[in-house]
Symmetry: C2
Subunit: 155 residues, 2 copies
DNA sequence: ATAAGACTTCAAGTCGGCTTGAAGTCAAGG
DNA sequence: CCTTGACTTCAAGCCGACTTGAAGTCTTAT
C-alpha cells in the first residue's frame, strides 16, 4: 500500500504516518522511487498506537511497549502499564461519580455538598501534582530492577 | 494565605498558581502591597482543578465547568462530562484487559493472538483519530442547543 | 514528452500547559 | 535605615505531538 492508502484506511494523515515512521513507531517495507510502501500489517500497528494514545500513553512509552529488548521486559512493561491503567480507571470512576452527583445535587455550590467533597477526596487520594507525562523512568527502572533480580536469582 | 502557603499546601508551584489566576481558574481575595492573598477555599478549587486535569479535561473545559453562565448549563455540562468519562473508562478497561492478556499470552506476537486482537478491536470501536483535545465545541454546542430548545419550549 | 499531481524532505510553526529569566517592588528583621 | 529575600510582572522558552510550507522528485495519463 502507498501512504495515501494507509492514511485512508487508518484515518491518520500522511504527515502523521511519516512522523511515526521517523519516530520508529512504524516501518515501511520499502520504497518505490521515493515513495514508501507499507504492508497491510501496519494498520494493526497503527490501531494499537491509536489505542495506546487514547489510553494516555506517550509515543515514547508506546514504542517501548513495541520494542522488546528481551522477551521478558515487554511482558513486565505491559503489565505495569495495565496496573497504571487500573489506577487511572478507578480514579476516573470516582471523578465520574462526583460529576454525576454534582450534576444532580441540589446544593447551591458543589463545595457545600458533603457527598461531592468526599468523592473528590477519594479520587484525589495519593494523586496531587501528578506530572504531565507519566514518569516512566521510575517504572522502567523498577522493571529493570525486577528483571535483573530474576536473572541473578536464576543464575 | 500568601502564595507560598498555597503552593505548599497544594503542592503546585507558585508559577502555576499565577498562571491559573491569569486564566481565571482561581482568584485571590486581595493584595497586600503587590502580594496576592488567597483564602483557604482556593485549596478546594485547586484540588478540583487537579482532579479535572487528571481526568483529562483541559483548563478551558474545567473553567467552563466552574463558571456557570446560567444555572442549568453547568449541570448539563457536568453530566456531559460524566458521560464522556464513562466512555473513556470503558475504553480504558478494554485496553487494560488487552494489556494484561498480552502480558500473559504465550503467542509469540500479540498480533497473532486472537483474544488480544479482539479486545483491541472492541476498545477501538468508534474511536480512531480522536483529537488531542476533546472537541468540547461540539459538546458545548449540543448543550447550548438543548438549553435553547428547552427555553423556547417553556416560553 | 510533458504536465499534473501525488509523493518526498526538512525546517519551522502551532497549541496547551506550564516554567524560566530578567528586572522591579515591597515587608520584615537586624 | 537598609538589606535581603520573597514576592511581582511580562516576555520568552520548552515539551510533546503533530501540521504546514516550500522546494524538489516521481509516476502516470495523455
Amino acid at each position: 500500500m502507498d501512504i495515501a492508502e494507509v492514511a485512508k484506511a487508518s484515518g491518520l494523515p500522511a504527515s502523521t504516518l511519516r512522523f511515526y515512521e521517523g519516530k520508529g513507531l512504524i516501518e515501511s517495507t520499502g520504497r518505490k522511487g521515493l515513495r514508501r510502501i507499507f504492508s497491510a500489517s501496519v494498520l494493526d500497528r497503527l490501531a494499537l498506537i491509536s489505542l495506546g494514545r487514547s489510553a494516555g500513553f506517550s509515543l515514547d512509552e508506546i514504542s517501548e511497549m513495541f520494542t522488546p529488548q528481551g522477551p521478558e521486559i515487554n511482558r513486565a512493561l505491559l503489565s505495569s502499564k495495565a496496573d497504571e491503567l487500573d489506577k487511572k480507571i478507578k480514579e476516573l470512576t470516582y471523578i465520574r461519580d462526583g460529576l454525576r452527583h454534582a450534576a444532580a445535587c441540589k446544593s447551591p455550590s458543589h463545595f457545600e455538598c458533603p457527598k461531592f467533597l468526599q468523592l473528590m477526596r477519594i479520587a484525589g487520594k495519593n494523586r496531587f501534582r501528578q506530572p504531565n507525562k507519566l514518569q516512566s523512568n521510575t517504572l522502567r527502572q523498577e522493571i529493570e530492577k525486577n528483571i535483573t533480580r530474576s536473572k541473578n536469582s536464576s543464575e
